[in-house]
Each structure stands twice: as structure tokens, then as C-alpha cells.
């Protein structure tokens, strides 16, 4: 049997899983901060072996674990329906991270399926732990649509196995026409399953509600981990298994996602809903980059890294501010403190792809090769969607930059670690602004 994944990612997955299970069965009732600390620690331990061996296999490990650590650190008990849920949430985050790592690193269809299912199930349950009936509803819809897409994906995997006689993505191409058709159909279904996790058109349903309603830290975790893991998985599928079939599909789906989500986001007045729709647009850019083939490969990874950094910054700045919808008016009435306002503004700038921010370089990296690799029309459409996005991201900016000064007291409950996380992430984003090649060197690792 083929090797599922490399030892580093396997080690990380084992550590995370053991930590998650230990937390769940722990007989002593852990305090919230203890749970968060344990989660962060587990992620740190899981990252350690990977940090010393940079490769395309360990890069996702490091990134996913970092996000998971952040999420468990920022997981605010007040976001949850019951305070006791903190332990469960932390262990679900760890499990989700393990699933994400598996999804991103394996080329075995079965492992990929298990990784994706672990990730999406833990995201669904995490969403359900949020406050009020809306959380349950969003979680149920997310779950049903996730189940449908996983079933689709599994059917696709079965077709591929039938056609190639192997559960490995990289199996040699079959000989007969029938087998090749089966494999193509299977690949399309597989891609659609991953598309749900990426939340791109036409599989964006369900995810939007979950991203909007879930507790802040959870939404940030789901939006970043699932995008990163599914994006890397998509990259792998397209590169290993059949670019010539999938690349045009990915470009089309990516462009449609960008356009649709940009216009839909223009109609949103609530910041979280806007971020949810924008997540679709960003996944669209990622998919577009993947669809460009070899020239877009590094650009896509670079895009994913900058996106993750910006979203993490945005959600770290918003940590603890859930329940009431966040609108322009509520940001005016209860401004964030100075650090968080700046962090949020910087994150939004990067999401908007406006310089000076790494998001600008990332969009440039994806769109510039697009003209020759995907054709002018797709690039024109994608670019249009990309720049119009600025209209909704930047709307809160004047208030964020101005309002913070007036804030005599911080309206947000003090979240331990939040200020630290915002500072670190903001530094990362600023560093990537001035030196984008740092992240692209990271992306270059994936070529090894």
C-alpha cells in the first residue's frame, strides 16, 4: 500500500489527535483558559518537527497548526452557548486541524476523504456551539450541504478507483476510452467535493451562513483552515491527476466565484456577512490561480498565505465581538480600541488587495499570468471582480481609522492573547507588504 503522507505530517496529525482525544476524555474539569492553553500547546508541539524540515509536505502543517493555535487561543467563551463548551471546542479545532493537514498533504483518495470529512464535520459542530438558534440552523444547513458534497466526492473517488485500479491520485493514466471517461467524471466530482470546502460556486451554499453565524474564532478558523487545506488539495489534484481536464474548469469556477461573490458582498451591510461572501471571492482567486497550471502554482500558494494572514488578522481584531451584528453604525457607536482598529483596517486593506498590503501583490501574482494562461476574457472578468471588491472592504475604513481615537474604553471584553495575536499578525502582514518575496520563498518550497 502506498504511503499516506510523510512522517512529519503524520506525526503532527497523531499529536493533534491524541491531544484532542485527551482533552475530550479528561476527567478533570478544565478551566476555559486551561483548555485554550492546552490547545495552543498541542499545536505548537505538532508544528515543531515540521518547522525544521521545510518542504511542500510540512508547509501546510506549519500553517494549519498556527491557525489552529491562534483559534484556540482566541476562542472566547462568551462566543459560545455554554462556557463548558470551551474544552469541546478546543478539541474540535485540534481535530479539524488534523483533518486539514491530512487533506492538504496526502495523495491517497481514502485519506483525502477522511481528512475532508474530519475538517467539515468539526467545522459544522463548532458552528453549532455558537450562540442561539441561528447557530444551530446554520450548522445544520452547512452539515447537509457538506454531506451531499462529500457523497459526491466519494462517488467521484469510487469512479477514479474503478478507472485506474488504484486509490492513489498519481496512478498512471488508464488505457481505454471508457476508463478515461470514468476517470474524468470522477475527477470532476472530486473537485466539486473539494469546492465545497473551498466554498466556491456552485458549492458555496451553506458555508456562507456558517461563516457568518459561527463564533468569531471558529469562523476565522473554518474560513482559513478549510481554504488553505482545500486549496492545497485542489492544487494537488490539478497537478497530479489531470491538469488538462481540470484547469479550464477551475478557471471558470474561480472567475464565477469572484464575480458572484463580489456583487453579492456589495449588498451586505454586516461586516461578518461581508467577510463570508468575500471568502468566496478569495477562494475564487485561489482557484483561478490553481487553474493557471504551472505558472499559477506558486502564485496560488502565495495568495493562500496572504489571504490566511489577512483573515486571521481581521478575526483576531474582532475576537470577542460577536452576538450583535457588526455594522458601520455599531462600529461607530462602540469603536474598537486603537490596536484592533488598526489591525482590522490593515486586514481589510489586504483583503481588498489595495496597496500597501500583501493582498495587492498576491492579486498581481495571480492575475498577471492569467492573461496568457487562462485567456484575456477570464482575466478581465476576474480583475473586474477583484477591484470592485475594494468598494465594500474599504467602506468601514474611515471610521476604523478615525473612531479608534475616540474610544475612551474598549467596548470589547478583554480576550487574553488577542492583543498579542493582533500585534504579531499585523507585523506579519506589514512585513509581507514590504517584502513579498519572503512569502513567495515559502511558496517556492512547494516546488521542491
Amino acid at each position: 500500500m502506498d504511503v499516506f503522507f510523510t512522517q512529519h505530517s503524520l506525526l503532527a496529525v497523531v499529536i493533534l489527535t491524541i491531544a484532542a482525544v485527551t482533552l475530550l476524555v479528561c476527567p478533570v474539569r478544565l478551566a476555559k483558559s486551561m483548555a485554550a492553553g492546552a490547545g495552543t500547546l498541542a499545536c505548537a508541539v505538532a508544528t515543531l518537527p515540521a518547522i525544521f524540515a521545510p518542504s511542500s509536505e510540512t508547509l501546510p502543517v506549519v500553517l494549519v497548526c498556527t491557525i489552529a493555535a491562534l483559534a484556540s487561543m482566541l476562542l472566547l467563551p462568551s462566543d459560545l452557548e455554554r462556557d463548558d463548551d470551551a474544552v469541546e471546542s478546543t478539541s474540535l479545532i485540534l481535530l479539524g486541524a488534523a483533518g486539514g493537514i491530512v487533506l492538504a498533504t496526502t495523495t491517497n483518495l481514502l485519506s483525502m476523504m477522511l481528512g475532508l470529512e474530519t475538517l467539515s464535520l468539526s467545522a459544522a459542530v463548532l458552528t453549532a456551539l455558537g450562540r442561539g438558534p441561528r447557530a444551530l440552523e446554520a450548522s445544520f444547513k452547512f452539515f447537509v450541504l457538506g454531506a451531499v458534497s462529500v457523497a459526491t466526492m466519494v462517488y467521484g473517488m469510487a469512479l477514479i478507483t474503478c478507472a485506474t485500479g488504484s486509490l492513489d491520485l498519481g496512478a498512471p493514466l488508464p488505457v481505454t476510452d471508457l476508463e478515461r471517461h470514468l476517470r474524468t467524471a470522477g475527477l470532476v466530482l472530486l473537485v466539486l467535493g473539494i469546492a465545497f470546502e473551498l466554498a466556491i460556486v456552485p458549492m458555496q451554499f451553506g458555508a456562507l451562513g456558517a461563516y457568518t453565524v459561527a463564533p468569531t474564532a471558529v469562523a476565522g478558523f473554518a474560513m482559513t483552515t478549510s481554504k488553505l487545506a482545500a486549496g492545497l488539495a485542489m492544487l494537488k489534484v490539478a497537478n497530479v491527476a489531470g491538469g488538462e481536464v481540470l484547469h479550464p474548469i477551475l478557471v471558470a469556477l474561480g472567475t464565477l466565484s469572484i464575480l458572484w461573490a463580489t456583487f453579492a458582498a456589495l449588498a451586505q451591510v454586516e461586516l461578518r456577512a461581508m467577510l463570508a461572501y468575500s471568502a468566496v471571492a478569495h477562494a475564487g482567486f485561489l482557484t483561478f490561480g490553481i487553474g493557471l497550471g504551472e505558472v499559477g502554482r506558486q502564485a496560488a500558494v502565495f495568495y493562500a498565505v496572504t489571504y490566511v494572514a489577512a483573515v486571521a488578522l481581521v478575526f483576531a481584531s474582532l475576537a470577542g465581538r460577536s452576538g450583535a451584528p457588526i455594522t458601520l453604525a455599531s462600529l461607530r457607536a462602540q469603536p474598537l480600541d486603537r490596536l484592533r482598529s488598526a489591525g482590522l483596517a490593515l486586514g481589510l486593506l489586504s483583503l481588498a488587495g489595495v496597496p500597501p498590503s500583501p493582498g495587492f501583490w498576491a492579486k498581481l501574482g495571480v492575475l498577471v499570468p492569467g492573461w496568457s494562461a487562462a485567456g484575456p476574457w477570464w482575466t478581465i472578468l476576474a480583475t473586474t471582480g477583484g477591484v470592485l471588491g475594494a468598494l465594500y472592504y474599504l467602506r468601514p475604513l474611515p471610521d476604523l481609522l478615525a473612531g479608534a481615537r475616540d474610544a475612551a474604553t474598549t467596548s470589547t471584553a478583554a480576550v487574553p492573547g488577542s492583543r498579542f495575536a493582533v500585534t504579531v499578525l499585523a507585523s506579519v502582514v506589514l512585513l509581507l507588504t514590504a517584502m513579498p518575496f519572503l512569502a513567495t520563498q515559502l511558496a517556492a518550497i512547494t516546488n521542491r
Binding site: 476523504m113 470529512e117 451531499v148 457523497a151 462517488y155 485500479g165 461563516y211 456577512a273
Partner: protein, 116 residues
Amino acid sequence: MIALGLDIGSALANVDGATFGVVLGTSALMFALGAVGCLLRRNPIALLMSVELMLNAANLVFVLAARVRGYVDAQAAALIVLVLGAAEAVIGLALALALFRHRSRVDADEPREVRG
């Protein structure tokens, strides 16, 4: 049934073309039925059953793959998919229960507060 007349090649020596086509066709039908069931059924439990049907359609293809290729791993895959279906059902039922506990009508289309 389309596949009936096709030459399925030397690799599929363990099974004749007609059987291959019938099994594949059945699985496709099951998958389509499951998908339609997801569309039409409003009851959350029926919804989950439809998803199971889709998963079982995949299982049929996995078993077919194991048979035609002599590839045992595919059977293992089918077993794992069964477990996965069970896990999904557990979580799905739990969520459905939590969501519809306080509602008079058990209709998956009923809660419409979250538009996304």
C-alpha cells in the same frame, strides 16, 4: 446500460462488459435517486437517508472496482465509507434533534433565519 456494447479492455478481465455496465448504471441511478431525494425530502431524517443512498452508490462502485481489478483496497474503502456514513448520520441526527426540538413542524426548509 450505455456501456453495454463498449469494449472495456483487457484490464477489466474479471468481469464481462454487460455486468460492468449494469453495476455502474445501477450505482449511477442510486446516486441520482439520492440526489433527487435530497432535493425533494423536507424531513431531516429522510434527507440523511438520501445522503446515505448516495454514499452507498459510491460503495457499489468501490466494490465493482475491487471485483474488476482484483484490488482489495477498494473493498476496504467501501468499509471505511460505511463507517463514515455512520459517523455522518450520528452528527446529522444530533444536529437535527437540537434544531427541531423546539419546533412544531419538522421541515428542513422551515428555519430560514440564516441566509447564506
